[in-house]
Subunit: 312 residues, 2 copies
Amino acid sequence: MTPFATRLHEAVRRKGTPALVGLDPRFDLLPPPVVESARAQASADANSLKAAAFEEFCLRIIDVVAPLVPAVKPQAAFFEELGPAGSSALARVMVRARQAGLIVIADGKRGDIGSTAEAYARGWIAGEDRDAAPWAADALTVNAYLGRDTLQPFVDVARERGGGVYVLVRTSNAGAGAFQDLDVGGRSVYRHVAAVVEELAAATADADGFGLVGAVVGATWPRELAELRAAMAHAPLLVPGYGSQGAGAADVAGAFRSDGLGTLVNSSRAINFAWLEEPYRDEYGPDRWEDAVEAATRRMIADLQSVLPAVS
Amino acid sequence: MTPFATRLHEAVRRKGTPALVGLDPRFDLLPPPVVESARAQASADANSLKAAAFEEFCLRIIDVVAPLVPAVKPQAAFFEELGPAGSSALARVMVRARQAGLIVIADGKRGDIGSTAEAYARGWIAGEDRDAAPWAADALTVNAYLGRDTLQPFVDVARERGGGVYVLVRTSNAGAGAFQDLDVGGRSVYRHVAAVVEELAAATADADGFGLVGAVVGATWPRELAELRAAMAHAPLLVPGYGSQGAGAADVAGAFRSDGLGTLVNSSRAINFAWLEEPYRDEYGPDRWEDAVEAATRRMIADLQSVLPAVS
């Protein structure tokens, strides 16, 4: 069994970038050709139509980005909004991403206790063997509010399967600090969560020094990002907030280890819906939306390369 | 539109009990007749078989408990473990529960930011109109670690649809205190979450004085339960931990308002799998497992009645 972090960094080295493309389909923003194609195939039921369109949209993005980036991050919520039809589409999208050689991080932010947490883990963390779970993620995002003991079932399943877990530590939203920043005797709540993550990561470290437990830390908080990289030396980081949420390459530089490993930087909307944004909107338009996805991905990769150490 | 808390308490008054039956199917614990029946109908695929068995098991429990209790709480994780087949089964179980006149609280512990949180809310909180969401819950359990702003989309969808939200405040697991109890200048993290819940609940209070935002508070912490009832006077409480997790009726007495309203007490495994436990095991056995469910439910109702004020 190859540990998750080893597989992840092998992919990062091969692609030469830590760029992570989010798969965040929104029906109102889909390119018209995708919607028309789905309409021709799907049943009249609104959620089935949307699910077919989401699936086609994501499969096409996967085809575009698979040669360029090491990993994708499908957002479970947008599929779940469509009910079982969406859940089935998500499962197929994840399988296709794995077949395309991508690491898949399911953004489900699950969290529960005991056997319930284990059920989520078994449903979502397939790890190395993509037939091991119905939603075939390499790793799953997890919420730790319920306590350290509630992380253990996720860690156990991930270890058994060669998968990973990304614990929410400091999120990218404007109001993230409401509970995460509360001051516990000079140390924030998120630092307490980070301490548990580091302990679990250190205990499962691979040859590169990274464990199977990582952390989600928003790019919108550059100071906390550098602080948390230091505090969680063994934890792979997943950094959302680059792109549409306003952070740039300079903001994420502090998230990396000096050898360029240890971090994935995510962009979702700025890539998925590049066809709606300048400078791609005028150049490509809805019929060449996939070219806009490719251009936006290449721009992100170049942008990150300008500030990061070369991956060694 | 009738507010969630009004509909909930109407059901509590009608049934004369605050007992909430969890639907927590576990394949290894299913009565053999349920598994055999599913095997006769379902395809050979392991997850489809299990999903068919979960569905039949839950539908039968619904038929038994619908005349006795106001509400059921399906645990999303156990269905998700089975992939899309499980998700579809869960949707049908929830529809049947609604058709049987039960309030349905989906235990999904979802949490995310902005439009992502809204997608979860739209997928799960149907509110008064059970066609409004593919998983037709009246209310959804939600995790607030991401911040106060991340609760707002859930609250907005719930308000629009006559649904509700139960925020995890103090959970019932042994390690719940790891982050929830951290001391923020003399006040625990969970009290900070509770303060936000109370504010959102007070702002949406119905004629009985209860809002559409409630809180999950474990029965395994009786002192905190009474403290939190006082701190969240307008919040409906959902109290897990009674039964299999060790708490008794006396432990939950402090969770109720003096008129007997404001709280649901949940029992899952002790009712679902009563056929495996004394005194039901010897009396009923696997063929009469539904009688065991009924007996365990009636015992819980009587147990709660012995310590609670009569609902007025």
